[in-house]
Symmetry: C2
Subunit: 399 residues, 2 copies
């Protein structure tokens, strides 16, 4: 059983409004819609007929008689899959994008698509089986690499051996019998920030994920901008120093080779071994596998070398962002991903460089903030992405 | 007398099609429009009634009887004003954006808005007077600085003393009795490239103007992207070298302080005075005021120092563009403005840096080309910008 698609843009607008603003009476839906009362009533009736919305309980009174509220079908379920470098998150959301269940398992993306997708499908089927009487309407999938969005396939993803050109979307759609959509994980997280995070009221903003690598989600007029090949936001390989460390991409001095999870691990190990950081040397001696978390802990404990590492990372990231702020003039910059947990020392340094280096017109009202969603951003974004597709007219239909 | 506005999105689509594709018969207009034949006929009749289109002569036959062609009203005129640092261009176009007349006068923008706008209005009134029986439908104005697009006013424009917050749009609209629109000159040139230049088939592209300063027009889905404060594309002050020359903005090592017309003039003078360039020293001795044109001539004549100047300029510009290409993943980069006349040596250097520094996915099919429109880009873009506004529904109207 599949979900019906709305037939015209008025139905699309009504569905998205019920999703983003919650249940509404007919009278409330009439406000701010450019439809006559009778046409609105006809569209609402048609949406009920299609099974996309339902009358439910009573809406707040407006002084007259109490009327029933309209809400999105309570049987609709959306599956969210967020494939990371070393784990996969699977969640189930309702039509209003409330996350009803969320599980995470460790699995290495480099084991290849067959292993990882089978694992994700197992988890998915269990979550769905726990919700009898519901309809799985669609699945949104994020992967840690560039994606050809129209084909739903990864394109030369550096940390995903075996995934290049693999039909990820088709695999999910066939296995689950519903529409699927696949995008880069950073784009999906950006959409999660837009739907439920600190970017809720921003239309043009940047979401910078500082994980193992560094990527950027570019949101324009409320929608993810992907560029002509789906590689927009690939800022990890912008050069910050033409004599800098060699990067995995083969060039010198890329942002990612200076900062990000992998670079911090490398620098933390060097600082521990050389004894430049007593804190990190201690942790290493205790058998800890050093990571960005340890650098953050060291900096917080006042270790001068670790503090300098965070500041230097913030400086190079800030320089890249300063250029992007001048170019793109966003209304907001959100920092997320694991390394953003280096926290306020990192944020202070990024802000200082951007506010100093970009022109006042671009930074006058520009907040630079840390994400508050953490792990939820990916699954909420995946739900939002497939929801946007389901709540749109089919290509070629008249609207 | 003012132009009527279309009443719904179908009328908008018909008008824009007649503008961009030229006169069409009713049968031809029916192709590729998602309207029934009878609804299309009604919309066309209404556009004739509104005076926005007219039946004209005979369209090519399709085997049946010959039918009249429909065309945009032949009486419609659009005024194009392109205010530069040291000159103003004024042109008159018809509804299909053919430039019918084009005049240019030297006038320094730093003389202030009263002087410059009076001069532009004088020129405009003469052009309009030469076209009796026509209707001036609107005016598009470009200025060499950042603009608050919603208000139609320059915002802290560095090279336009006296223009900050000046009501440029209102001045033109009141004086000419028609709608006016004001934008940054680089955005307007980008739109000109989109309408009639090398970017005609590109939807997501960058237009880089290398004049006295350096700016970038950002086109997304066929429309100019301005950012939240109208400063998007302000790439002249991206830092390329943190020990570089002091910039007019107060920072160090900005792109503009390294390259662009003003920087080249400074470096050409130094090279002539020190004798490092024999060619430029000769020109200076002849009393020439050195500019980018002389550097280009010197490089073309084989002067090694001038060639090195062009290459170094291409390198720093290429480094900034490499970052923007990674971030924005455009389908095309167009270089225009006076300094782009340094020509193929510059282009070769920019290409070499961008193709080496950006990831293959972003550069695989990325042409980097020189503009072919030169001075026309600004006036055609101004006509296109006001035309897009006139051929849209009024805010709040039902469509």
């Amino acid at each position: 059983m599949t979900l019906q698609r709305p037939e015209n843009r008025h139905q699309v607008a009504l569905l998205r409004r019920l999703r983003d603003e919650g249940p509404r009476s007919r009278a409330e839906l009439n406000d701010g819609v450019d439809l006559s009362r009778s046409k609105l009533a006809a569209e609402v009736d048609r949406l009920i007929e299609l099974g996309l919305i339902e009358a439910t309980g009573l809406a707040a009174s407006r002084g007259g008689r109490r009327s029933t509220a309209l809400a999105l079908s309570s049987r609709t379920r959306l599956l969210c899959v967020d494939i990371g470098a070393t784990s996969v998150d699977v969640a189930l959301a309702d039509a209003e994008l409330n996350v009803l269940a969320h599980v995470r398992e460790d699995v290495e993306v480099r084991l290849g698509p067959d292993v990882v997708i089978d694992r994700a499908l197992d988890l998915a089927r269990k979550l769905v089986a726990d919700q009898p009487g519901t309809v799985l309407a669609g699945v949104g999938v994020g992967v840690p690499g560039p994606v050809n969005f129209d084909r739903g396939e990864p394109v030369s993803p550096p940390i995903m051996p075996g995934w290049n050109g693999y039909p990820v979307r088709e695999r999910f759609a066939t296995a689950l019998g519903c529409p699927a959509i696949v995008d880069n994980d950073v784009n999906i997280m950006a959409l999660g920030e837009k739907h439920a995070g600190i970017a809720r009221r921003a239309n043009d903003f940047l979401f910078v994920k500082i994980g193992t690598g560094i990527g950027c989600g570019v949101v324009i007029r409320g929608e993810v901008y992907r560029g002509v090949n789906g590689s927009a936001g690939d800022i990890g390989h912008i050069q910050v120093d033409d004599e800098g460390p060699v990067c995995t991409c083969g060039n010198f001095g890329c942002l990612e080779a200076h900062f990000g999870g992998a670079a911090l691990r490398r620098d933390a190990l060097a600082a521990a071994r050389s004894g430049r950081s007593a804190f990190l040397a201690d942790r290493l001696a205790q058998g800890v596998t050093l990571s960005a978390i340890d650098v953050g802990a060291a900096a917080e404990a006042g270790d001068p070398h670790a503090t300098a590492m965070v500041r230097e990372g913030g400086r190079v990231l800030g320089e890249v962002l300063a250029g992007l702020v001048s170019f793109f003039n966003p209304g907001l910059v959100v920092l997320g991903g694991g390394v953003s947990q280096l926290g306020h020392e990192l944020l202070a340094q990024v802000r200082s460089v951007v506010y100093q280096r970009s022109l006042p017109l671009a930074t006058g009202n520009l907040p630079i903030v840390l994400s508050e969603l953490d792990d939820e951003a990916g699954v909420i974004g995946a739900a939002r992405m497939i929801s946007d597709q389901l709540y749109s007219t089919l290509p070629g239909s008249r609207s």
